[in-house]
Every structure is written in structure tokens, then in C-alpha cells.
Amino acid sequence: MINAVWTLLTPRLLSARPSVQNNRRSRFFFFFFIGLIFWTGAFLIFYRVLTYFQSVQDFGDILAMKLLSMMIITFFTLLLFSSIINSLSHLYLSRDLSLLHSLPVSVVDIFRSRWLVSAFDSSWMVVAFSLPVFLSYGLVYHAGIFYYLITFTAIVCMCMIASALSSMVVLLGAAILPAGKIRTLFVILGVLLAVLLVVVLRLIQPEQLVNPDSFASVVLYLNSVQALNLPYLPTTWITDTVRFALKSEWSSSGLNLALSTSFVLFLLFINETTAGIIYFRGFSRAQTTPKRLFKPVTLGGKSWEVLLNFLSRPARAFAVKELRSFFRDSTQWPQLFLICALIVIYLYNFSVLPLDRAPIKTIYLQNVFSFLNVGLSAFVLSAIAARFVFPAVSMEGEAFWIIQSAPVSMKTFLWIKFFLYYLPLLLLTETLIVASNILLRVTPFMMFLSVLTIFFLVPAIVALAVGLGARYPDFKSENPAMSATSFGGVLFMLLSFSLIASVIILEAGPVYRIFMAELHGQALSVKQIIRLALSFSFALFLCIFAVFYPMKLGEKHLLKR
């Protein structure tokens, strides 16, 4: 039994062997370095926050424990969501499952091996990034070695509980619905839940915390959070394990850890028994012919072809293909909900900024915010581009041969991709910047500057995404959208952020001088005007360079493949 599970795991273990290829090794170090920066950043922030809490009399300890409880609930929710997606994929949708089920091994062994892989895949990142949180607690509370051992065991239990609960839900779901449809349902429900959480958190109005008048409501808020610590919730056991270990109350900590561990064992037993009965039935159901979930989308009876009639035939063909593929792939829809939620929250934040109560001169503050707003909007654009534009070339998948053998040059193909995303993203970002600037009531000059900066940043970021997506494509991925987290995707985010920061820095100096001159009723000197022209020209040059160079790089790489 153990042997069979081990054998089933070997392909995965062997493919995870460190590669001897130099570029793979450098990519590993690149990711390790990025991860280390985030890890250190998270540790420093938590350490600073907890040290601050310690300095708050009476309230400090309560706040620290509330934060711990909220962090554990957040980690557990993330784990649940990630485990559902991973279990579904590993248990029902992976390409190698047909081979596994044809082998002379029991269904339960297949389930065990896939569950282990799924539990690891869905947990490792959450575990890695939860460690700085628990480490900072340990250091601030001067905890001993046993705290770290117990906490680590508790985290492992939390991951296993989340994974076992998720696989149970997936097992039961797949026995009722074909797996393809459950994925749609779960993903939509999960994202709706995430959007709801973000909106609720936003509506709590954290900016009110800086207002002493509303302090009474904070006490009420703390009390309301207490309601989440129900004694029969696994997150309460995990929180209490860590909480008591911090205070060296070993018997209480041990009791909660025992509760968690026994619950893990209980869930594993239930899972295996259920899998033995219904896993294969669900797998068989997942093999059915895919059917369209909804009828084809037509806008007012018009097809995409008619609506996009103004484009050239190849461009229209690509645009229509892209739109149809996007809207028929149900896993893409939740991403749209997320973007909508992101934009609503973004604009809502500006609408609640207490500009009138600020001690600094309002017009100055409004314009500073407007300037920051350019950067933030561009960051939002980068995130959207990383998710949708960067994988655009990889989305062609194994059907990329069609493009390669079609009488359309690679350059044309890439520029069509560019324009497909450029126009809607330009519209979206300009709308975002104009709407937020109206809410900020900025001067006409800042409005003009913001709109102009975004006008040049959007093509640069879109081209950077298309170009790097073509330079680092993954045509064999089962889920090309995930390429946003690949080496190329992370490189795109870094370069995109660097570009945005460079443009903002180049504009910030001259704009500050213009404001100061205006504030003091002085004219700009010739030297200042020259510096202003040089700064703006260099920012423009950077944007133009970012449009053409990555596109050329991507084209060259695709032709050489």
C-alpha cells in the first residue's frame, strides 16, 4: 500500500529534481531572491506592528491576539480556496489521470498519492509566508524552542485539515456534477466570497481608526471579532495552540494541538473511506464530453464579427477567436468579477478620503494624491496585464502551429495581440484616472498631466507584457493563465514597476517645482524649464522604448523556436 503510493509519487518527485541547466538554476535563484525579499518584508512589518502593540497599555496583548486569530482565519480561508482548486485539478482534471487509472493500483492508493500532492501544492506557499508571522510572534513574546515546534505542527495540521475538507467537498461534488462544471461553480463561488470579504473589510472603514471620536466602535469591533473564535472551529484550536504556546501554557496548548491532530486523522479516515466508494465514479463522470454551459454570446443579435467589422480580416479573426475563447472558458469569468471589485474599491477609497480634515493645504494634498494616483492606476494596470496580457501568447497553447503555418507574420500576430489588449486597457485606465481625479477635485493641470502620462504608460506596459509573454511563452501549460507567476511573469512585473516608478520620479521633480512656483506666484527659470523638458522627454523615451524593444525581443524569440 505504502509502496504503491510511493511509486505513484515518484514521477512528481523526479520531475522536481533540481535541474543542472544553468538558466534553470539562475531562475531558481531569481525566485528565491524575490521570495526572500517578500519574506523579510513580511517579517519586518509584523515585528514592527507587534512591537508597537506591546507598547500599548492594556490593549496591546488583546490586539496582538486578535491579529493572530485574524491571520489564522485568513490563512485557513486561503488554504481552503487553494485546496479546492488543487484537489479538483489533481483528482479529476490532470492529463496523466487516464494513465494512472489504467495501472494495476487501487483507487484509494491513487487518491492518497494525488491528495498528498494536492495538499503540498496548495499549502507550501501559505506555510512559507506564514512563517515570518509566527517567527515575529515568537521573538516579540520571547518564546522558547517548544513554541516553534508546536506552532509548526499546528500549521501542518491546519494545512491538512483545509486540504482534507476541500478534497471531501470535491469528492462529493464530483459524484453529483461533472468535474468541469464543479470547477466553474467553485471558482465563481470562491471569488464571489473573496470579493465579498474585501468589500466587507473595506466597508469597516479602517481610515476611521485614525479618528479618536470613533474609538468606541473599535471596541465594538474587537468584541464582534470574538464571535469568530467559536470552540468547535479548527481555526480556534490552531489559534489557541499557538496562543497558549506563546504564554508557555503547555497543557492548554497541547490539548488544542491534540484536538487538531485527532481531527486530521478523523478527516483522513473519512476521506479515504469516501474515496473508496465514490472517487472512481466521479472520475468517470469527469470524462464525459464537454458541453457549452451557456448559449453563444451575441450582443443585441449581432455577432462579434459584425461588431468588429472595422478591423482587417486577420485582425478581426484573431480578435473574435480571442473573445470567444475567453468568454467560453468559464475559469476566466471570476477574474472579471475580481477586476470589477478591484476598481470599485479603488474608486470608493478616493471617495472616502478625509481631504477636508487634513492639516496640510488641501489643494497641495489633492495634487500629491493625484500624482500618486497615476502610479497606483498604473500598478493596477500592471496587475491586470500580468494576468491577462502576459499569458496572451501562451494561451495559443499547442495550437500555436496554426499561427506559425498561417500567412501572417509573427510581427503582425504580436501587434494584433497588442492592439487587442491596448484599446480596452487604455479605456479602462483612463476612465479610472479621470474618475478618481474628479473625486479628488484636482486642478486642470494635474488632470491633463495624469491623462497624458497614462496615455503613454498604457501602451508601454501592454507591449512589455505581450513582448515578454512572447519571449517566455509556455505553450504546453495546462493552465497558461498561471504563467503570470512564472519567471517571465515576475520579470514583467518587476520591469513594469520599474518603468512606472522611473516615469513618476522623472515627472515628480518638475511638477513639484511648477507647484512651488505657482504657490509662491513666481515664474520658472530657464534652467528649470530645460530640466523640465529633459525629464519629460526622457520619460517619453522610456515609454516608447518599452513599446518597441520587448515586442522585437518577443518576435525574434518566437521566430527562432
Binding site: A317, V320, K321, R324, E398, W401, S405, P407
Partner: protein, 241 residues
């Protein structure tokens, strides 16, 4: 119509195609056979403009595929060995997409698509997403798409994989019909009986090198196998290298 001159593809670790030269005339069906890993697919992918050669040239109807790929691809009908398609489009939408890329006359595009879908027994599935098609149906759709723009040259890699006997016969008849209309057909296959029955001439590639070419009779002569079937000739030729 097709001319490969000293064609070479070196992947760095593997020399997939080594100094390959051959000519195929208009209206001729040329079979390309060889063991697994001999360089057939690499040659075909270079002919389709999907990968670029390390050295040498490919001329299709006088057009250099590497130097003028768009013009060359306009007259090529390419069928790969594995039927990867845009899974979220319907069969009809896929043909429309291909028709737009190849700029097939709009007035005849729908009629031709319908004819091809009916010819390949896919009409009943025309409005179903390709994701729901079987392997053989996808293969049929790819062949239909390759014929949509009336190519002058057909470059086909393993056309019969996944097809049922009826479809095999249909594809064979279609290829013969195309050759009769002066279309050049370059086909790689492991089905030696098909090559024997269908092709005017056959080239045998092994370890990236063309080791023999000609009619079945000429290959028999080269292999000194008398009047043996192509299978025997092929095995003898490959063993000798």
C-alpha cells in the same frame, strides 16, 4: 514545385536533418518515410515555415519559405501530426478563422466551409465546440481547414493517425484528386501500405539523411529486394545504414 536544397537542422544536441536535398514536381504525390526520430517531422515543420533551418533552403513554387514566409504559406496547406486546435471555437468558427487568415473570398467562404464539413462528415458537429470532438474528428477538421484556401502544395505529417477506415479511404481519394488537379502533395507516413498505394515517388529518410528515393520499383532495385513490398524494402534499406 517543391525544392529542398542542402537542408540542415541542428538542434545543438541532435542533428535532426543533415544536408537533405530533393525535388517534387507539380501534381506529384511524394511519400516521406523513415523510422521514429529520422527527421520527418522536423523536415515537414521546416517546409511549413514553423521552424527555421540551420542551413539550406526550401523553395515552394519558386518562393523561398525562409525569406518570404507569408507568400509561401499562402499557397501551402499544412497538416501537423497532432491535431491541436482552438478548443473553445466550434468547427464552423474555426474554418471561418482560418478563412480570414488566408483571406479566402468571403462570398465563397461559408459555402466552401459547409462543403468541406459535409465532405469530412463533420456537418452535424459544425456548431459544437472542438473540445467535444474526438481525436479523429479533430484530424478531419484540420485536413478540411488545410483545403479551405485551395492550396497549391499540401504538406502533411501522418494524415491517417486516428482516422477510421472510411475516413482513411476518403483522405486517400481526396489527395489523389488534388494531385490530378496539379496540386503537389508531400506526405510523411508510417503506414507503408498507404505510401505504396498513394505515392508516385517515395523518399526514405534515416538519421536525418535521405538514403534512397524513387518509385517502389526503383527502391526495390536500390535495396536489391526484387519485387518485394515496400515494408520489406524499407526494413532492408534502414538496416543497411
Amino acid at each position: 514545385m517543391i525544392e529542398l536544397k542542402e537542408l540542415t537542422k541542428d538542434y545543438g544536441t541532435t542533428l535532426a536533418v543533415d544536408n537533405l536535398s530533393l525535388r517534387v514536381s507539380a501534381g506529384e504525390i511524394y511519400g516521406f518515410i523513415g523510422p521514429n526520430g529520422a527527421g520527418k517531422t522536423t523536415t515537414i515543420r521546416m517546409m511549413g515555415g514553423i521552424i527555421e533551418p540551420t542551413a539550406g533552403s526550401i523553395m515552394i513554387a519558386g518562393i523561398n519559405v525562409h525569406k518570404n514566409p507569408v507568400a509561401a504559406k499562402k499557397i501551402i496547406g499544412f497538416v501537423p501530426d497532432r491535431p491541436f486546435l482552438y478548443e473553445k471555437l466550434t468547427g464552423m468558427e474555426f474554418l471561418k478563422f482560418i478563412g480570414d487568415l488566408y483571406r479566402v473570398d468571403l462570398s465563397s467562404l461559408y459555402r466552401k466551409s459547409e462543403e468541406l464539413l459535409k465532405q469530412f462528415s463533420l456537418w452535424d458537429w459544425a456548431n459544437e465546440i472542438i473540445e467535444a470532438y474526438s481525436h479523429g474528428m479533430k484530424q478531419r477538421l484540420i485536413i478540411a481547414a488545410a483545403l479551405l484556401h485551395d492550396p497549391k502544395v499540401m504538406v502533411i505529417d501522418e494524415p491517417m493517425v486516428g482516422l477510421d477506415p472510411e475516413a482513411v479511404r476518403m483522405v486517400r481519394d481526396i489527395l489523389k484528386g488534388l494531385a490530378a488537379q496539379n496540386v503537389t502533395v508531400f506526405v510523411s507516413t508510417h503506414t507503408l501500405s498507404l505510401a505504396e498505394d498513394l505515392c508516385d515517388r517515395i523518399g526514405v529518410i534515416h538519421k536525418g539523411t535521405l538514403i534512397a528515393q524513387g518509385t517502389v520499383a526503383e527502391l526495390n532495385l536500390a535495396a536489391k529486394t526484387g519485387e518485394a513490398r515496400l515494408e520489406e524494402v524499407f526494413l532492408t534499406l534502414v538496416r543497411e545504414v
